[in-house]
Symmetry: C2
Subunit: 120 residues, 2 copies
Amino acid sequence: MINKNDIEQCDYIHVHKDIIEKVEELMPAEEKLMDLAEFFKVFGDTTRIRILYVLFQSEMCVCDIANLLNMTQSAISHQLKTLKQMQLVKYRREGKTVFYSLSDGHIKTIINQGMEHISE
Amino acid sequence: MINKNDIEQCDYIHVHKDIIEKVEELMPAEEKLMDLAEFFKVFGDTTRIRILYVLFQSEMCVCDIANLLNMTQSAISHQLKTLKQMQLVKYRREGKTVFYSLSDGHIKTIINQGMEHISE
DNA sequence: TGAACATATGAACAGTTATTCATATGAGAG
DNA sequence: CTCTCATATGAATAACTGTTCATATGTTCA
């Protein structure tokens, strides 16, 4: 029996009991789903997407990225921090300059899949 | 020479002129990048991610999704609207009930890639 | 050591967004 | 036609997020 204690409960049993139970069973842990949403949130901003596209081509320093995207150094730096926290980019220092680059192959795959989807 | 008119300009030429030009050339259209960010924004919310995971298993009506996720019918309905607008889910009506299901194979690929990334 | 430059960061503000509440729409049953 | 149920939706609010501004950190060079 589906839990009748819930406030929201349709009386028409649309799917069979075992399907509901199976779905519940197969749901990843709540924390994992939150992490996943946090991860995708990073791609949900034009500036960050543009930064990633720039880094597809070449490693680059903060200042050059800011130039290319016509934004302030501060804005780019803040966004790079976000990307860094999600481990989408890595960096290396060379004197005063810090070079950023992509850290991972998944990124290109994910973005390409997204591009495919919206291009349909 | 890199454009010296920009306010933000590092004097140290980190990358060669032609690389910068090449990157600029290879950047997708601004509008496309905005669409892409909009698309990923949809994945950047726990509720929507959970809905998608539920629909991985089975088509389901609004009310059952709300039950499963322990949220109000209204909240789910609003989020389904967002998912529908981005064409991530489709629906069919059967009497009073509306069944939602995934509309596309990219979705699973994208979410799985995301899962892989955060599980490393 | 101090000046100059590249980058990072904290606080504040403006814009966005998810949920709630109240209510509307749409469909079947009687 | 009217009642009931499933879903949709508009408005309001609270929480979140991206950019800016001011400033701090860290590095090189003289």
